[in-house]
């Protein structure tokens, strides 16, 4: 069975830190809440102690007034019990009041920190991690930590203390019976240790499987169109059901582990009670113990029953939490290779000169025998120039564009913006100089306006409203996105995940408008017009030409029409830029270029009918390009 989590999640067992050490990791987040947590524990402790004092009163009552048949002492004793009972309730109210609100604050802080860390982590990290796994960490795991903080840890500490104090009290009533109780509980401690070993493993598996299930759910929803188009809803259900079945198996294993410790936790007090009854009556018969003391002993032991029983639940909760912390810190501790430099340089007067200098790049997990995806790319995009990037599918064009804004970092060589290595700039600054539009246009759940002005946060200020409107209109105009005015609420219509769904072409135009509105020195566009029809494409191109006249641009192009936007074209082949020049020049002199960019032609089609299918080695012969010179002319227009 496949799994969607990264391979590094299975840590070797010997490297696993102890439960306490793992849980201690969250201390920095818990620190602000510490005083209240401690106060809460103190309050809980008092509540526990008060409940232990009540049997004391009962003993006095039984041995005193009740045996001497003195009715006058009953009322004061009852009042005392009443006061103690009220005090217990008050202490428990205090415990809740102290502990619970800070617990939610810790949870919220951690959730925000987790989110911030994820946003900071490089794209390479997100490539590896299914977002369902991240989601289950952000929601279930953090919820678990909150409950443990505000409930589990406090009760665990308090119940253990109550049990210890309770034992002391039992010894106080009768050391013989106390000793009996203590001996009886030894199997409990042994089993508790066994339980940890067993349970932690299953708990981890369960949480990971839940993450996988969340991933499966997410994919079934995001890929719904494909599943519908092929009628594979039931088929995917089978797969999902298999995963759910595995989770069910794990959960039942977990229940069996819990049942194991429960058994002991119930058995031990019961056996101890039975033996204490035997011993107690014998001691009473021999006058070592009064009836009142026996009464109090059992009353105390009864108070202890619940804390003892709850230990099982609290322990399993603690181990669940420990797993949650482990899972969370797999992300929080993840190395971020793409960070801001310690003392960032700045580009004073950005003109938009973009240089790739012997750039090498390979994906970290690329197998060793494979050459670098980008294997020494040298390319200069001059200020104001529009450069088209052409190459076969999978040749690394998109990767090359992502190096400019450090979505990935080069593995060797450098990308320079106006002479400054992009790694020496802060990411914030770098990304304000360079704006991108991606192949798959992502819009966020916000109005059209906010989506278009995403790269211009400074225009959000009310004083800038006029300017913002102008920038947005201009960008929409360039991208030929006048359709927005026909949306139900015009540019204020909410689009994206939670809003109106737009067609691929519409989304692409908004993403393009967004890149244009950012008014960067450098525009990086990844096949920005692929979803547009010919008419619209022509109009967008006209608009783009205006914008691009004074902006440096790097455009990934698949179609000749896009290439004609460019001043020059760079051909990416086998990890290098093998040729740079004007479209016409390249057409005339470079065979590979012609292969990549020239369109299906009727003669060519006729010829191709004879060639094999399924191979990439169909290189059109010179004969199919009748008028290279004339085309070159056209290309320059």
């Amino acid at each position: 069975m496949r799994s969607t989590t990264p391979p590094d999640r299975q840590q070797p067992r010997e490297h696993r830190a102890g439960t306490a050490a793992t849980l201690a990791k969250i201390y920095p987040f818990v620190k602000p809440a510490m005083p209240r947590l401690v106060l809460g524990a103190v309050a809980a402790l008092f509540a526990g102690l008060v409940s232990l004092v009540i049997p004391l009163v009962l003993q006095t009552l039984v041995d005193g007034p009740l045996s001497s048949r003195d009715g006058t002492q009953i009322v004061p004793a009852v009042i005392l019990v009443l006061v103690l009972g009220a005090a217990e309730a008050v202490f428990i109210a205090l415990r809740r009041w102290f502990v619970l609100t800070p617990g939610t604050h810790v949870e919220a802080t951690m959730r925000n920190a987790f989110y911030a860390k994820l946003q900071d982590l490089p794209v390479a990290f997100h490539d590896r991690w299914a977002s369902g796994q991240l989601l289950s960490r952000a929601m279930s795991d953090l919820g678990l930590i909150r409950r443990w903080l505000s409930f589990g840890i406090v009760l665990l500490v308090v119940n253990v203390v109550t049990i210890v104090v309770g034992f002391v009290v039992l010894f106080f009533w009768s050391w013989q019976l106390g000793l009996l109780f203590l001996i009886c509980s030894i199997p409990l401690w042994i089993y508790g240790y066994v339980f940890e070993q067993k349970y932690s493993v299953v708990a981890r598996r369960s949480q990971d499987q839940q993450g996988d299930l969340a991933t499966a759910v997410e994919e079934s929803v995001h890929g719904i169109r494909v599943l519908k188009a092929f009628g594979r809803g039931r088929h995917s259900l089978e797969k999902f059901a298999r995963q759910a079945e595995e989770l069910r198996g794990t959960e039942i294993e977990k229940a069996q582990a819990i049942a194991g410790i429960w058994l002991w936790l119930l058995l031990v007090p019961d056996v101890a009670f039975a033996l204490s009854l035997l011993g107690g009556v014998l001691l009473a018969a021999n006058d070592v113990l009064t009836v009142g003391q026996l009464f109090a002993f059992f009353a105390t032991a009864t108070v202890l029953r619940f804390p003892i029983e709850s230990i099982g639940f609290l322990l399993s909760m603690t181990f669940d939490t420990r797993t949650a912390v482990d899972r969370l810190y797999e992300v929080l501790d993840a190395d971020n290779a793409i960070t801001d430099p310690d003392s960032p340089s700045t580009v004073e007067d950005a003109r938009g000169r973009l240089v790739f200098d012997a750039v090498h790049f390979r994906y970290q997990d690329s197998p060793r025998q494979f050459p670098d995806l980008l294997n020494g790319v040298d390319l200069e995009v001059r200020p104001g120039e529009t450069m088209a990037l052409v190459g076969l599918t999978g040749s690394g064009k998109t990767t090359l564009t992502s190096l400019t804004t450090r979505l990935y970092d080069v593995t060797d060589g450098a990308v320079r913006l106006d002479g400054v290595d992009v790694r020496d700039l802060s990411r914030e600054e770098l990304r304000s100089h360079i704006a991108m539009a991606f192949e798959d246009a992502t819009l966020f759940s916000a109005s059209v306006r906010d989506n278009v002005l995403l790269g211009r946060p400074e225009l959000a200020h009310p004083e800038q409203a006029v300017e913002a409107e102008r920038v947005m209109r201009e960008a929409l105009e360039v991208a030929q996105a006048s359709f927005v005015d026909e949306l139900p609420e015009g540019v204020d219509t909410k689009v994206g995940e939670e809003g109106l769904s737009l067609s691929g072409g519409q989304r692409q135009r908004l993403a393009l408008a967004r890149a244009v509105a950012a008014r960067p020195e450098v525009l990086v566009l990844d096949d920005p017009l692929s979803a547009l029809d010919v008419d619209t494409e022509a109009r967008v191109e006209a608009g783009l030409r205006r914008v691009l006249s004074d902006t440096t641009a790097l455009i990934v192009a698949h179609r000749p029409s896009t290439v004609t936007l460019a001043d020059r074209v760079a051909l990416l082949e086998n990890g290098r830029v093998t040729d740079v020049g004007e479209h016409g020049e390249l057409l005339a002199r470079n065979e590979h270029y012609r292969f990549v960019i020239s369109s299906l032609d009727e003669e060519e089609e006729a010829r191709q009918k004879h060639t094999q299918t399924g191979t990439l080695d169909i290189i059109p012969d010179e004969g199919s390009f009748e008028r290279p010179a004339a085309w070159a002319e056209e290309g320059r227009e």
Binding site: R2, K228, F230, R248, T302, T393, V534
Partner: protein, 602 residues
């Protein structure tokens, strides 16, 4: 305001009637989940009743030991009563513990069966619901339903039900034991039930809306989270991180606040319970104490009565926890039952017509299509596509091409009129046969996690490796797949498995090729391909489409070359219809488009 299905889901201020209707809906769902488990439920109930009964016997046996065993031992050296008490206690304790451990496993089996059933139901139902639903309901929310809402229910089943069943039984048995031991103390306990009832009612009322609020708030957090993570590149490129943190922080705070409010309620409820318990103990002691002095009650019996009273309230905290998880699970169940109540607007036929081997003739009869019934996209039209014909659908963005294609693949049903395949109305056609006969490839080529091979095999589950490879070769995807580290076994999410948009499209082409439908619809399916790949695909297509019906939507008119017939659409109407040669040689819209396109080539 209607509350059918998912409508009004974001509200938390339901009226009484609305609340009741929703609750009944949830209960119906719960009932249907439980009914297949009857036998197991009965077994579990027996186990828990016996085990709780055994556990409750304790104090009575202690009382017996003190009141009967002690005097008998002292006066007559009679060991029997004491031995009976101790032996009874041991047996009851051990048997009770073993049974409760059994019960833990049994109840886990039940709750896991329920969850498993519910997971599958929601998953399948989400798949059955129409695209229209998904487009308005949004993916984040349907994910939230299937993740965090199910978590809430799981929590209820895991710990809550245990607490409730055992708690209630425990209390019932204790009450019985108490009454049989000393009816008078039982009366005192009955008196305590009055304030208890008021407390529970108060808590129930005030927490319900708050719990609903937590569900809504957690769904918003999830939606935002999923959106930022799936769009991480854009987030980074446009420096949205800080702004996102603020937005997300706001949502997190709202969720926190909702949670904190619920918890505060608890801060009153729980101590309230304890107070009632302790006061009852004091009253029992008062009454019992005087009766001991008056000789109406043995000391041992008083001990038992006090212990029972004390224990009676022991499970209350656990039950409060149950109520906590019950409320949040109930809120989750409300939302889930709402989704399950949604009728698919493109339902499977009640009496499906089978069509095992379709020839591929598609007909539109007086078809009108409007979104939500009022925004007309396709005004009434007729269209007859004979079997085996390849049609190119041309027109500007928004002309209704995709909508027409989606009508054929039954992503939507027409508002008026009918679409038929081989003379069978699609609405009557067996769903399996429909999907086997008609396949649509869209521009957004989605890959599921798993290997490349598995992704292609989606077109035909159970396809052999040779079939998969053949399909990939036919569309020219074989080369790039072989260049990946593990070939067809390369995981698309893992080691070296990065797949570009163009490659994704090739994979989805291979999927369609493997599915081997009678009618193939390509909606912008080549948009991200580079020209050599497109060429290969087109070549593959000429063989693929030779004997089947095809509708091709493409902006690149190169496709037209392989079409038998071209339809030009404008504002939802078909304005030109003819063979490519006819239309190109004419002076219409297509002739212009074609000329413009020729110019754009090289």
């Amino acid at each position: 305001m209607s509350l059918e299905g998912v409508a009004g889901e974001e509200r938390s201020d339901y009226t009484k009637e609305e609340s009741r209707a929703i609750r009944q809906r949830s209960l119906r769902l719960l009932g249907s989940l439980l009914s297949p488990l009857k036998a197991r439920l009965v077994l579990t109930a027996v186990v828990v009743v016996v085990s709780t009964g055994l556990q409750v016997a304790g104090p009575a046996l202690i009382a017996f030991g003190i009141d009967q065993g002690l005097p008998a031992l002292m006066k007559a050296s009679d060991w029997f009563p004491l031995g009976a008490a101790v032996g009874g206690y041991l047996i009851a304790g051990i048997a009770g513990a073993v049974l409760i451990a059994q019960y833990t496993v049994l109840s886990a089996r039940i709750s896991q069966a329920i969850l498993f059933d519910l997971r599958k139901r929601v998953y399948l139902h989400a798949q059955r619901l129409s695209l229209e639903f998904h487009e308005t309901y949004t993916s984040g929310r349907i994910i939230a339903r299937q993740t965090s809402d199910l978590d809430a229910i799981r929590e209820l089943l895991d710990s809550g039900i245990n607490g409730l069943v055992r708690g209630v039984l425990y209390m019932v048995f204790i009450a019985i034991a108490l009454v049989s031991l000393d009816p008078f103390s039982g009366l005192v306990l009955a008196g305590a039930l009055v304030p208890l009832w008021f407390l529970v009612r108060w808590f129930q009322k005030s927490s319900q809306n708050l719990f609903r609020r937590t569900r809504v708030a957690s769904a918003s957090v999830i939606v935002h989270f999923v959106e930022s993570m799936t769009g991480i590149r854009a987030v980074k490129a446009f420096r949205k991180e800080k702004r996102n943190e603020k937005e997300f922080g706001g949502l997190v705070e709202e969720y926190r606040d909702a949670n904190a409010k619920v918890i505060q309620l608890f801060g009153i409820f729980d101590p309230g319970l304890i107070l009632i318990g302790n006061v009852t103990v004091a009253v029992v002691l008062l009454v019992g104490g005087f009766r001991v002095i008056g000789g109406g009650l043995e000391i041992g019996a008083l001990l038992a009565v006090v212990l029972y009273t004390r224990r009676f309230f022991d499970p209350m905290e656990e039950m409060a926890m149950f109520y906590n998880s019950y409320q949040s699970a109930a809120a989750a169940l409300e939302k889930i039952s709402g989704v399950l109540e949604e009728e698919p607007s493109v339902p499977d036929p009640a009496r499906p017509v089978r069509l095992p081997k379709a020839s591929g003739a598609v007909r539109f009869d007086d078809v009108t299509f409007a979104y939500n019934g009022d925004r007309v996209v396709l005004p009434e039209f007729e269209l007859d596509i004979p079997a085996g014909q390849t049609i190119a659908l041309v027109g500007s963005t928004g002309a209704g091409k995709s909508t027409l294609a989606k009508l054929i693949s039954r992503f939507y049903d027409p508002t008026k009129g009918s679409v038929s395949l081989d003379g069978v109305d699609l609405r009557q056609l067996d769903a399996q046969d429909l999907r086997r006969a008609i396949v649509m490839v869209t521009q957004e080529a989605y890959l599921f996690s798993g290997s490349v091979g598995e992704n292609i095999a989606l077109g035909k589950p159970g396809a052999s490796f040779d079939e998969i490879r053949h399909a990939a070769q036919a569309v020219g995807a074989h080369e790039f797949i072989m260049s990946m580290p593990d070939g067809y076994d390369t995981d698309v999410n893992k080691r070296g498995g990065r797949v570009s948009a163009g490659q994704r499209q090739l994979v989805s082409f291979a999927r369609a090729f493997l599915a081997d439908p009678s009618v193939l619809i390509l909606d912008e399916a080549t948009a991200s391909l580079d020209i050599p790949s497109e060429r290969l695909v087109q070549e593959g297509l000429t063989t693929l489409l030779a004997d089947r019906t095809a509708v091709i939507i493409a902006h690149r008119l190169s496709t037209v070359a392989i079409a038998d017939r071209v339809l030009v659409m404008e504002h939802g109407r078909i304005v030109e219809d003819g063979s490519p040669e006819q239309l190109i040689s004419g002076t219409g819209r297509f002739a212009q488009l074609h000329a413009a396109w020729r110019d754009s080539l090289v």
